[in-house]
Symmetry: C2
Subunit: 217 residues, 2 copies
């Protein structure tokens, strides 16, 4: 059995990733993180999506009492015209978030015998977070090689980032071919009843759908 | 104010580390992890030690539902004559433990504005865990450089491992000079009323104290 750990947030990218991993004949085990995010709604969506494809999953609760992000701190404002040119990092940045997520994924992968970790990071249509960039993943691969049992035994757990260099539109096109139920995914940082349409995450999502020729929102 | 995040388990090494950081004029913020370890007792000891030196601290609860270690799984036996030659990794190894701890420390350091993380890893008198070795820390430093906001801005958070190449006896000698209250530290993996004296952690501790000339157990 070709087990893989899939980091699943319930958003557009990671849900496409889950379907991609299945299309490559992996048996996914999803990790869903409850890290105090304001848009808790994504957790329920992620659980429903994992169940939909009959994937096993863990919801891992993480405490970040030091916060340091508008995505965690309700007293801060979620930026509505965040800088997404990759030069400035918006306040929705959560310190070391993907580093923490990958560390749990690595622990899980080694414990359950999965040889691959899938993470839906994207460094094209993204908010400029450093832990979504290729240089970071290359550095993390060296941590795997040196810091865990399988790594020092030469049986490295692999990090796969199939969406890293794709545009949002390319991701959506691929997802449509894979049958991803985008109506069940959630991207909005605000986590209200309906997507706000103005946060970075909503805007990147809409940009993607608009660019998919023939797609009606 | 020279803030530093100190990873504190309540054991001999990390407590010495806390006193060392203070002697270097850092203002420590301790992170204490409740990760489902069988020896929960160390958490109470760590909290008491942080309070003793008037350091702020967070107790961070971590879930590792996949376990994969005799230090977490009560159905497994704690090895009593574990291999500590560095060739074989004993069953007390927790997949990616220090990687996870450092990831939280990094998140915390960036959020509170600490420039240094202290970790009491030791690669001399140790149980052969890969995430206690110099090569791992070197790899992790590259993750800091590429994966967090301060790193990509060239203001790297530093990992300091002052105990890495010391023997247990050297650590204890230094700690004694610093006034470390070793009677308040806890090392035993079993977490009973008294230290078992036969687990790796007890044996390494005793070896250290025996080697300190003139010290009476």
């Amino acid at each position: 059995m070709n087990k893989a750990v899939v980091l699943l947030s319930g958003g557009l990218d990671s849900t496409t990733l889950l379907y991609y991993a299945r299309s490559k004949k992996f048996v996914p085990h999803c990790l869903i993180f409850d890290y105090g995010q304001r848009h808790k709604k994504e957790i329920r969506m992620a659980m429903a999506l994992a169940r939909k494809v009959k994937a096993t999953f863990d919801v891992v609760k993480i405490q970040l009492p030091w916060q340091g992000s508008s995505l965690l701190d309700k007293k801060m404002k979620i930026p509505e015209q965040g800088d997404i040119d990759g030069k400035n990092i918006p306040s929705t940045y959560v310190p070391a978030r993907n580093i923490i997520f990958l560390s749990f994924a690595l622990s899980c992968a080694e414990a359950i015998g999965a040889k691959v970790i899938f993470i839906g990071a994207n460094a094209v249509d993204y908010s400029g977070y450093p832990d979504c960039r290729p240089a970071f993943f290359d550095a993390y691969r060296k941590v795997i090689k040196t810091g865990v049992k399988t790594g020092v035994q030469g049986k490295n757990i692999e990090i796969q980032t199939p969406l890293l260099n794709m545009t949002k539109a390319q991701i959506i096109k691929m997802g449509m071919q894979l049958g991803v139920p985008y109506d069940l995914t959630w991207s909005c940082y605000k986590g209200g009843k309906k997507p706000c349409g103005v946060c970075d995450s909503c805007r990147l999502r809409m940009k993607g759908f608009k660019a998919v020729e023939g797609y009606i929102l």
